[in-house]
Amino acid sequence: MDTELAEVRALQAEIAALRRACEDQPAPWEEKSGVQKSFQAIQQFSSEGWKSSKDLKSQLGHLESELSFLSTLTGINIRNYSKQTEDLTGTEMTEKSIRKVLQRHRLSGNCHMVTFQLEFQILEIQNKERLSSAVTDLNIIMEPTECSELSEFVSRAEERKDLFMFFRSLHFFVEWFEYRKRTFEHFKI
């Protein structure tokens, strides 16, 4: 009976709080001027968020220029990236102070007219001495698909699970391709 009484008290308290909330919020059907309504609306939704919109814009601007720099530097334009993490540590491993984490990464973007989509997995194993990180799976989808030289280094990169080699080769290949195109254009009559 005590627990039930406690629940009654808790429910009554919650009901009182909810009634107050009902009273605080302006019911839209109540007669209020447009200005008052918008003022209350500003109060209701996170007012801090509204003020920091300017900060957001400047932060975004700064990061976007960082992005633009990296894109120019590497020759690679990454548009999207997402990652998932899965903890594979078993109870046996925890006892031996070993931690195993599997990361699944997905990124896509383009290098001039070539678009790519990568899905790869990184397995991280942490034991007492060191942390080891290795790419355990690499899948690359390219567009255009007909270019044989492109497919060649793509399959080599996939085989060796060599991300850096893929991006560097892609950049040089596209540069060379663009250069060749310009040269041929130059000689067109």
């Binding site: 009901i15 839209p28 992005l67 990296l70 999207n80 990124l107």
Partner: protein, 300 residues
Amino acid sequence: MEQTNPLRPDGESKGGVLAHLERLETQMSKSCKQSEEPQSVQAQEGALGTKIHKLRRLRDELRAAVRHRQASVKASIANVEPNLAVEMSEQEVLEEKLENVKAVLQAYRFTGLSGKLTSRGVCVCISTAFEGTLLDSYFVDLVIQKPLQIHHHSVPVFIPLEEIAAKYLQTNIQHFLFSLCEYLNAYSGRKYQADRLQSDFAALLTGPLQRNPLCNLLSFTYKLDPGGQSFPFCARLLYKDLTATLPTDVTVTYQGVEPLSTSWEEQRASHETLFCTKPLHQVFASFARKGEKLDMSLVS
């Protein structure tokens, strides 16, 4: 956008909710008065259960009413102050964009080159790896001025940073960084192979692995059958090309007094070729596998 009458037909249903709530509350206060009268314990418990049930219902109805009002306010703002609503969602759009940009910046480390803008210029981070195994990262902090300068860095002293900078830094930052990437990745890869040899195949080594900091000169003695009678081979690997992870000069010599038999000579020569064409630790992995096969054949 035309302004709609705030007193929408929906108001009736809301009035309905309020009225309903009022009815519930009246019921509640009635049952409260009832429970104040003296009753048997059983009757009291029964009344308590019913009271809880009713209270729960009232609470749920109030929760729904609060949620409903919140949604209506939002919608009415869109009607009354469309700009305000637009600005609200503009913020959500900004926040989403910010999250996306942050994520993409993180992703650049997978290209091998990433970085951050600094007050002075830019700090570039070079990631290294060897055949899928991610290794150390190094940074170079550049000051944007004429001439471009390296403020500070974490590049090991035996990497020819000044040479590479002298060649490319002022004319082509990209070339400078790509070149440095090559040297650092190659060094990282050589170091990784030597480390793996020491840690994984110590059983096949008959002496300590000798190496220089740049890991481009390695010297070691090894035996294919550790417990066996044969003499060890002595290998010397020189990596003249500092941007490569495979040696350019390999010599495998035999440390015995008597001349080698033909089969052993063949082995010695094949080892020289192996060290030139495959990563060091993978060569030793194949030695270890052969050794296992040998053991198996002895047992069967």
